[in-house]
């Protein structure tokens, strides 16, 4: 009984320990997670790629967590990008807004969310997703009216 109780109490303590990570290499687009999940600017297909590039810059510079939308639809919340310690509006992730990249890093899951600690950017393919052809610029005020 004591052994059972002690095992049970140990199990209760487990969530306080660091999670087990898995090393992965994954390809996807660097996205603005708030607009993607909240729907504040429109559906998820309209808030990625070139249509949303400027807004993604604003959100990244504003410290909204940057994500990586993988080809299988998984969104990884990026907690560190290669050598840049700053995941709260840092320069490295800012410059990658809307880019398609292939990265190597450690994957963690917790409470339904996927997190990624990127150790290496294997390739940066710039913007591949030309969504402005279907959605224009999102939001519409992201490009100041020149007239």
């Amino acid at each position: 009984m004591r052994l059972l109780l002690s095992l049970f109490l140990s199990a209760l303590a487990l969530p306080a320990l660091a999670a087990e990570g898995t090393r992965i290499q994954v390809k996807g687009e660097i996205i603005d997670t708030w607009c993607y999940y909240s729907g504040v600017m429109g559906g998820p297909d309209s808030v990625v790629g070139s249509a949303h590039h400027t807004c993604a810059l604003w959100c990244s510079a504003g410290g909204i967590p940057v994500g990586m939308l993988a080809e299988d639809g998984t969104v990884y919340m990026i907690l560190k990008m290669a050598g840049d310690e700053n995941a709260n509006g840092g320069d490295t992730i800012l410059k990658m807004a809307a880019h398609t990249v292939e990265v190597d890093g450690m994957h963690y899951t917790r409470d339904g969310l996927d997190y990624l600690v990127v150790s290496d950017v294997v390739s940066d393919l710039d913007i591949q997703n030309k969504t402005h052809e279907d959605y224009g610029n999102v939001p519409s005020f992201s490009i100041p009216d020149p007239n």
Binding site: M1, L4, L5, F8, L12, P15, A18, A19, G21, T33, W34, Y37, S38, G39, V40, P44, S50, A51, H53, T54, C55, L57, W58, C59, A61, G62, G63, I64, P65, M77, L79, K80, E85, N86, A87, N88, G90, D91, L94, A97, A98, M106, Y108, R110, D111, G112, L113, Y115, V117, D126, I127, K130, H132, G136, N137, S142, I143, P144, P146, N147
Partner: protein, 186 residues
């Protein structure tokens, strides 16, 4: 054995979906999946929690912060503060690193998307009952960017954003693409 079964039942309770809307005074943002939610949580460095890499003071503003909910030990990830200005929550939460606070705001919950446990924080109340609105980001930006004073919102004046747009264009595909797009659409 009865005690053990009772303990197991208690441990299983947080697995069931809980309603944190009671007592919430969160204002709507008219988001399709928003759910008002007020709960007690500890402000944590997410990277530290997951990996054990734990610098002082939650990384002093360089890291994304999480809300470890007291009721069920769920890590809620705040993506947004309460300013309608493309601003995250980490800067507003940093003063509370390691503290147990009560937050009020909006969870985004949609089983079909699927998405859960992401949050827009509107207020933070400390143990002594002091409540602060989560709207400090733009003030911190203004302090860090004294040369970017001027009219219009911060995101039109931010030097880093302006530099990237000047080089890559609004669409990010180069200035020529921008020029053709603007000529056609404005």
């Amino acid at each position: 054995m009865k005690h053990l079964i009772a303990l197991l039942a208690l441990a299983a309770t947080p697995l069931a979906a809980q309603d944190f809307s009671e007592g919430s005074e969160a204002k709507t943002w008219n988001l399709y999946a928003e759910v008002p939610a007020k709960f007690e949580a500890t402000v944590v460095d997410v990277l530290c929690d997951l990996t054990g890499d734990c610098p002082e003071n939650c990384g002093n503003g360089t890291r994304q912060l999480g809300l470890l909910r007291s009721a069920d030990d769920v890590m809620v990830f705040p993506l947004k503060n309460n300013q309608p200005a493309f601003t995250g929550a980490a800067t507003d939460l940093l003063p509370y690193c390691g503290q147990t606070v009560t937050v009020d705001g909006l969870l985004i919950e949609d089983e079909d998307f699927p998405v859960k446990n992401i949050y827009l924080v509107q207020t933070v109340t400390t143990a002594d009952g002091t409540t602060a609105k989560a709207n400090q980001w733009t003030k911190e930006w203004a302090k860090a960017n004294p040369d970017a004073k001027g009219k219009g919102p911060w995101f039109r004046r931010d030097p880093r954003v302006k530099a990237i747009i000047a080089e890559e264009g609004y669409l990010g595909l180069g200035l020529e693409t921008d020029e053709a797009y603007i000529a056609e659409n404005f």
